[in-house]
């Protein structure tokens, strides 16, 4: 386990380092001058130069890269060009929107998907199974932003009971926050749950064919018991894999969904930062997100070992 962990951490750091290089190079290529964006069309050349100097954009490329990476290690992400506040503060304030959203979405999708998958698998080839699979097929095919629009049309335009967008802010209390996150959460969670339900179902069906299920039944365990006590945990491995992969999709999803609902989250921040050429925000955010994905993959690996004792690498007796 320890060697396994050490190896994982090493690749994790290496991947992140390569990621910093790629992101940095990409942003160097990115056309558009942050100073020009900030100062607009009437700005004069020496004003632009003064601002670039102030932002530290006039230093040599290599120095800037090394500075950035070493700052990353110390946790100092620098000051946003446009907002003029520490990037870490900016990101933190956006995370208070995106993280609850992602968490709610993944919770909701799991809460929907796993029971649906179980229902479908335990009613294999029966009408209930067909129903769940149809839901799944439709859910997978529907783009989440369209679904978000449909939800808005129904709940905000027609019924007018939920806001069409915006975030109430945490100081407004938990109620308004949940209210503003409700539609985005559903829009994110439902398509995800469609995929997850499908994976749960097929993983369960796969496991239910295994010999040890027959063993359990031969012991006198009833159908419910075999499903819950024996099949489910074994089926969790592919389910957790997909959930790990979905995290990355979820991040992508939040970018679009935050744009549909105008939530001041990470997704909107990165979109906005790219268009305003707030490069310092962009590069740190991208690294943060890549880091999050890599971390999640790491967590998934660890979860595997928790679920499946065979992967813990313990020695035989």
């Amino acid at each position: 386990m320890r060697i396994f962990l050490a190896k994982r951490v090493f690749t994790l750091v290496l991947t992140l380092l390569v990621a910093t290089l790629v992101v940095f190079v990409v942003l160097e290529i990115l056309p558009g001058d942050p100073a020009a964006v900030m100062l607009g069309i009437n700005a004069e050349a020496d004003t632009l130069n003064a601002l670039r100097e102030e932002l530290g954009l006039n230093r040599p490329v290599l120095i800037r890269y090394i500075d950035w990476v070493s700052d990353l290690f110390t946790g100092d992400l620098g000051i946003s060009y446009t907002y003029d506040v520490p990037v870490s503060e900016l990101i933190l304030s956006r995370i208070t929107v995106s993280f609850p959203l992602a968490l709610l979405a993944i919770t909701l999708s799991t809460l929907i998907a796993i029971p649906l998958g179980i229902i479908a698998a335990s009613n294999h080839n029966k009408p209930m199974d067909f129903l769940v699979m149809s839901f799944s097929q439709i859910g997978i095919a529907i783009p989440n932003f369209w679904f978000a629009m449909l939800l808005t049309i129904l709940f905000s335009v027609t019924l007018r009971i939920l806001p069409a967008g915006g975030f109430a802010g945490w100081d407004a209390g938990i109620g308004p926050v949940l209210k503003s996150l409700l539609l985005p959460t559903i829009a994110l969670a439902l398509p995800q749950s469609a995929i997850l339900a499908r994976v749960t179902r097929s993983a369960l069906l796969e496991v239910l064919k295994e010999d040890f299920i027959r063993t359990a039944r031969a012991k006198g365990v009833n159908n419910q018991g075999t499903l819950w006590k024996h099949a489910l945990r074994n089926a969790l491995i592919p389910v957790v894999t997909i959930m790990g992969l979905q995290f990355s999709f979820l991040l992508a999803g939040t970018i679009i969904i935050e744009n549909v609902f105008y939530l001041p989250g990470i997704g909107r921040l990165i979109f906005q930062a790219i268009s305003q050429r707030d490069l310092i925000v962009v590069k740190n955010l991208v690294i943060l997100l890549a880091g999050a994905v890599i971390m999640i993959n790491f967590v998934v690996d660890v979860l595997y070992a928790v679920i499946d004792p065979r992967l813990r690498g313990d020695k035989d007796v």
Partner: protein, 498 residues
């Protein structure tokens, strides 16, 4: 299922989820205002950025200059209670108001004016409108309440210029932090900024002038037109000084709760043309384009009918405006003929780069479709502002673009031969020189008229329409600006009627 029942069910579901449904506006009371804004300001220091959104938040609310522009566009005294101008029009002596304090308690004195103006014109200045301060030769404080500004040459618009957001007076102590925590002298104090969501201001109880009527003002950032409609409808927003969705104005007009005010702006929306590139070098080609533009269709299609057609680069509500629309009427046959005469009987291909605002993106699609009718095939390339500034504005790598020039009285840009239109006309440059040296209003207006006629005759750009200001607000909200002579949301006089 009936809609009624559906609603009940959904309501029940929502209630059981523990989510209270109430329109927050009901609670808002009469002393606070939620003002909607489309773009979030990047920061709140008007002396260090070009974004109109900065001024829309802080101008006249938090920061004040020596002078200020009122809702009619006239120059009024602000931190300077009065001024005198020397005979040669080169020395301005400002008498400052007494007893003015910055929000942090620092008192306002002549030294602050000297600091602010010197900072704006310094070598390392990051002021986006540095040109405003170019004529200034020196700024000196005669005593704590008197400032003398000496100009290198007479500048007719100097007092107007000092009313711009970029010329507000800041305190040396707090200037460095104005981006995130602005400290000014205005009737509102900055209280907090939830990035990406809202900016809150509270009444400045120690204001030198008439105190603001509102206790707090919250500026909510709602970039999405659809969200803006719902927020307005739900009462989450009390007013939108410039509503982002002209297509939904009719909806608000028919709703007795709201007042829709169509005002004017300083935004001349034009089909900017690269005068030094390919076919666009030829006057006949530019004339053909002018004849091929159906302004009514563009205004209807892009702005849902809100906007005033223009035939030159000048605001129609200005007294010096000359109506030149009929010089190039919509006439496809003539356009085709002109194009053929220019040597392009079968038209040609070009590129139109469009910045993000809907007037540009939608307008660009319509323009492309209109020009296709005379054989000009335009490839539509949408660009972000960053790319627009870089490619179009700086490197002039474009054929056509659409942009609204929102600076007031900016016809002078046509005299800059290195400007992105690449219009180099000694005749026009001469007119502008003459204008700068002219002080009498009548004479100035005549020169301005000639200038308008000249760029119209030369078809420098495709002149399309003056951007309208679509105000939508709760009927009970009083005192908001109907027009925008400068980019501002002056909330000083705003109050709720009973």
């Amino acid at each position: 299922m009936s809609r009624m029942r559906m609603k009940t069910i959904v309501t029940l579901i929502v209630l059981t989820l523990g989510i209270t449904i109430n329109a927050s506006s009901v609670m808002a009371g009469k002393s606070s205002l939620n003002l909607g804004m489309v773009l979030e300001p990047p920061h709140l220091d008007p002396t260090a950025g070009a974004a109109a959104a900065i001024d829309e938040v802080v101008y006249a609310n938090i920061f004040e200059g020596l002078t200020r522009i009122d809702k009619t566009g006239a120059v009024k005294p602000a931190l300077a209670s009065s001024w005198t101008v020397s005979e040669d029009k080169k020395t301005y002596t400002f008498t400052l108001r007494k007893g003015v304090k910055f929000h942090d308690g620092a008192s306002f004195e002549a030294g602050d004016v000297v600091f602010s103006l010197d900072r704006a014109r310094a070598k390392d200045s990051v002021n986006a409108q540095k040109a405003l301060f170019k004529p200034i030769e020196s700024v000196t404080s005669k005593d704590p309440n008197t400032v003398v500004v000496t100009l290198s040459q007479p500048t007719g618009s100097f007092l107007f210029n000092m009313g711009w957001g970029d010329a507000v007076i800041v305190d040396e102590k707090s200037a460095g932090k104005n981006k995130s925590h602005p400290v000014g002298t205005g009737p509102f104090k900055f209280s907090k900024w939830v990035k990406g969501d809202r900016i809150v201001m509270a009444r400045n109880e120690g204001y030198w002038g008439t105190a603001a009527k509102l206790k707090t003002a919250t500026i909510k950032i709602i970039p999405d037109p659809a969200a803006a409609v719902s927020a307005m409808m739900a009462g989450d927003i009390d007013a939108f000084a410039n509503f982002p969705a002209p297509e939904s104005l009719s909806q608000f007009k028919s709703d007795p709760r709201f007042k829709v005010v169509i005002g004017s702006t300083e935004g001349e929306t034009i089909l900017s043309t690269n005068n030094e590139r390919g076919p666009f070098k030829k006057l006949k080609v530019r004339q053909a384009i002018a004849h091929a533009l159906d302004r009514k269709a563009i205004i209807d299609g892009a702005m849902f009918g809100y906007g005033t057609p223009i035939g030159t680069h000048f605001a129609p509500h200005h007294p010096a405006y000359v109506d030149l629309i009929s010089t190039h009427p919509y006439d496809l046959d003539k356009a085709k003929k002109l194009l053929a005469e220019a040597g392009y009987p079968d038209g040609f291909k070009g590129v139109i780069k469009l910045p993000p605002p809907p007037y540009a993106r939608r307008g660009g699609e319509i323009v492309a479709s209109q020009l296709r009718k005379i054989g000009i095939e335009l490839e539509i390339i949408p660009v972000e502002w960053a790319q627009w500034l870089d490619q179009v504005f700086k490197k002039r790598d474009y054929d056509l673009t659409i942009v609204s020039h929102t600076e007031p009285m900016d016809i002078g840009i046509y005299a800059r031969k290195d400007y992105y239109f690449a219009y180099d006309s000694p005749e026009f440059q001469g007119l502008m020189q003459k204008l700068a040296a002219t002080v009498k209003t009548d004479a100035r207006y005549k020169i301005l008229g000639d200038a308008q006629r000249l760029i119209s005759k030369n078809c420098v750009n495709g002149f399309m329409f003056q951007l309208a200001k679509h105000g939508v607000w709760n009927k009970k909200v009083q005192g908001l600006w109907e027009n925008s002579p400068v980019q501002a949301n002056d909330l000083t006089q705003v109050y709720w009627a009973d």
